[in-house]
Amino acid sequence: MSARRVMGIETEFGVSVPGHPTMNAMVTSSHIVNSYARLVGLDRPTLAHWDYERETPLRDARGFDMSRSDAHPSQLTDEDDSELGLANLILTNGSRFYVDHAHPEYSTPEVTNPRDAVLWDRAGTVIAQRAANAGPVFDGQKIRLYKNNVDNKGASYGCHENYLMKRATPFAEIVRTLIPFFVTRQLFTGTGRLGKGSEGQRKEFQISQRADYFEVEVGLETTLKRPLINTRDEPHADPEKYRRLHVIIGDANLSDKATLLKLGSTSIVLSMIEAGISFGDTLDIKDPVRELTRVSYDTSLTHQLTMSTGASQTAIEIQFRILEAAVSFCERQSQVDGDTREVLHLWQSTLESLQRDPMECVSTIDWVAKMSLMQGYIRRDNCSWDDPRLALLDLQYSDIDPTRGVAAKLEEKGALTRIFTDAEVDFAVENPPSDTRAFFRGECIRRYPDNIAAASWDSVVFDTGGDTLLRVPTLEPLKGTKDSVLAVLDASPTAAELLDSLRDPP
């Protein structure tokens, strides 16, 4: 069992220009991505293409394909957006930075552990902010980007996690354990939201940004009738061996520790499921969709969830059950890696703190950090929850500009714990992780930018001026690492030489 596995995070940023609420978000999002392309010298038409050949967004993990005519247009993500003029970049750090519907989106490169996920996720926030700084100005206002999930006018947008899993694991087992885990992990993944209901009608604080936007337990959609468990089955890897679990239920976190715990605990739970560990019916929740909201609405953390067996448990109790199973599973292994130990330790100390007094998590868990500031205003100024400054605080917490963002201010004051230094984040802005295929992808973009016709998670397509393009498949996420390809890259000053070496290894 381990917290380590191939994983990644996708973040859709909120995008707005102050004073221009009706500005077309597809246009502002395109400005952001194109500004970054110019800033880093990737503004060439050859790099504007995503290789969609293997993308199958309508394949369902339950085993059937949806027909295209049944699908809502927003589900058709593989129609070549570049024809609509929507920008699409693959960066030297192996990430993808592009326009998804009406938001700029950053997808981290594939990483092998939760710490690296935190680092390359942070790199994405820096990339997006540099793009905004370099972007256009409208009546003296630059485009502003927010790492959040709601506008409190009815719209919600995602921060998705991806985990590579063994294909052989039965999907029904994944669903059964993940539902109670997801309903209750909000306790540490929640970023907090002032407002209840899809339009934030009631000015009350809740733990999660996303809880009000889920309608079904399991399903393929991500924009309509959102499911707790998304069944999109598009592994971006050998489909015989792998599935990619696409998790859409999480909040975008500003806190490094929250991101670390979110990715790490989820990965550990997946490895228990892969090992065949079952909780039987003991964690089955009677009505998980409704309980998701009830858990989110209960900042006292005392709500009793009704279980299918008729018993009742609090969210913390359910989390402790899962954690204890993870620890005892871990105990039976001869070796436990440092990433796993770190996550188990953080998971345990976080749950214990939440149980004693959530305020103990004020420097690590976003909803607690945010709520403590709001409560501070209420105490200091004797105001109420409907004071407009609190709604602004809710929004501005997630402003990614370090000169304006409230979470960034907390970090600057040492009130929100950072894991990585600015120098480490800057490295991840430029460079790919060394231990996945993202290394090959990122280095190809850096070294041969004029010869890359397209790229995707599982391919790099070269154009070396001949009659045909050459597609280098990268179907194995753990091949194309620094150890395996650096020598051949260093020995290949041109793309043509690289392709010769790959075709005919020395």
Binding site: G14, S16, R341, E342, M359, L373, L392, Q396, V406
Partner: protein, 68 residues
Amino acid sequence: MPSQDRIQSRGSKREDSLDEAEVTSVDSAQASRAELDQDVDSILDEIDDLLEVNAEDFVKSFVQKGGQ
């Protein structure tokens, strides 16, 4: 719980630094609450300067299209 002690005692550089960071989080609840209020107040003073001037209009004009 002995099982968890064992995990922690295996130790690593990462964990040692984590342990230090967490020493502060186990102070007695009341003392830390008063301390927290003070800390929050000093942070609020800075956030006052940070927040956009017209809170209500600013929040109203933040309108997004739905996403995934």
